[in-house]
């Protein structure tokens, strides 16, 4: 798969494990060892109880589309359009919402409430970016 055009993320102390897992095709979010809550994006602190005793948990999906947009504008040279970007929530992971591309169908077939599987694709700067799969 050709890498999608975009601007790569700055990878920080807090976000390195997320991007490392993404490279392996796994979606991970922060898990609080004190209260069990999950947080995303990773901040190195639990957003629920503010414990800094956090680890990681894999989110395997499926997820549900909370909202979306289909982008038609070529913001960068060689950006292929149109494409759909979805904001995905997970029934078993309250408070976790992840933005990613959508593939496996025509962009205009996207809808709120659509069920999608977790996936990744080659992204800018050698990263692997969230890219959900339409069922």
């Amino acid at each position: 798969m050709t890498a999608v055009v975009g601007i790569p993320p700055a990878i920080t102390e807090e976000t390195q494990p997320f991007w490392d897992a993404a490279a392996e095709g796994r979606l991970v979010v922060e898990h609080c060892d004190a209260c069990g809550a999950e947080s995303f994006p990773p901040r190195g602190i639990c957003r629920t109880c503010r414990s800094r005793d956090t680890g990681w948990v894999e989110v395997s999906g499926p997820g549900t589309v909370y909202s979306f947009t289909v982008n038609h504008q070529r913001w960068l040279p060689d950006l292929e359009v149109p494409y759909a970007v979805v904001l995905v929530e997970f029934p078993d992971h309250p408070g976790v919402r992840v933005a990613g591309r959508l593939r496996g169908g025509a962009p205009d077939d996207v809808a709120i409430g659509m069920v999608v599987d977790v996936g990744f694709e080659p992204g800018p700067g050698g990263t692997s970016i969230p890219s959900f799969l339409a069922r």
Partner: protein
Amino acid sequence: MHGAPAEHRAVISGVGQSAVARRVDRSGLQLTIDAILAAVADAGLDLDDVDGLAMFPGGGSANLPGYANGNLYEVQDALRLRTTWRQGQVEGMSLPFYGPALAVAAGQARHAVVYRTVKEGSAARDAGGRPAYGATKPVAEGPLAWLLPVGLLSPVCQVAPYATRYMHDFGVTREQLAWIPVVQRRHAGRNPGAVYRDPLTVDDYLGARMISTPMCLYDCDVPVDGATAIVVSAADAAADLRAPVRIEAMAGVVDGRPSWEQWEDMSRVGHATGAALWARTGLRPADVDVAQLYDGFTIEVAWWLEALGFCGAGEAGAFVEGGGRIDLGGELPLNTWGGQLSGGRLHAAFGHTAEAVRQLRGEAGERQVAGAEVAVVSNVGGIEAGAAVLTTY
């Protein structure tokens, strides 16, 4: 709240603008000086009266080419100002005059100037189109790290899911929301300073190309070059001022996650700011004569119409449909300068504030709202949120 709100000890005393157009071939510094000289004269003051200076946003926070011009140090040096209060405001300040108003209320300055200068029109043209967010940086930092890599490359794309969700939850249609840009363009036709003044119809809107669904070309504000300056003065200096405007109330509450994709309920934006604003004044939405509501995108106007209580949640589509309520002579004339959609993206409600001041002074020319005594101004919404009630002095 104990006693009168601190903002009652401040007034907006002057507004001034440089030329505003898709492209103005002047440096950011010269545009800034034009705006400040105009604003200080508009206040009835002299540059030597100015002792507070704020750039908005402060340098270094720009993720878009042309986003923040008129370096604070260069402006102070060029104008030979001696300041007792100075700030390179972060954009998180809810409204640009919020910090200056608190500074003069606290006696840190007597006459403070806050300015914003954009060169986004030139930057877009030089880039061959509107540039991607973060295009000047090699990597996406902070909240943008979760947006730009997956293709949410512009504020348009980042705000579009709010419109998608809002329209889904409430059954609001593009045919209804079209009236916001259409009526604002009608106002712009009466404003010689607006960037786009030719009539726009609902059919034009529905036929326009999509940028990022459901937002089309006419849902997006216009990148321009230009500067706006606002002078905020101590209320007890009113006798020295030409035509001050009262700050009746101001508020800015961020009660959701401050990342565009993480805001919990994308159908409700700005409501906490609206509640906080009305808690600071005895005035009510029905008292408002003219509204200058932030319109980086059409959907933001819908947020504020609902958040400020001009209509109920989900009712903004019906409120604007047909255009009568928001036209001159309607119950709530809206963005009478054309807004950012037709007047130019001056950012952070600088253009909205300037227009509110003109309306309250009766200086808005052909687009004057007769007898305007109470105005509201709002900024962005959601991750950045601010709103104020301004009244005649």
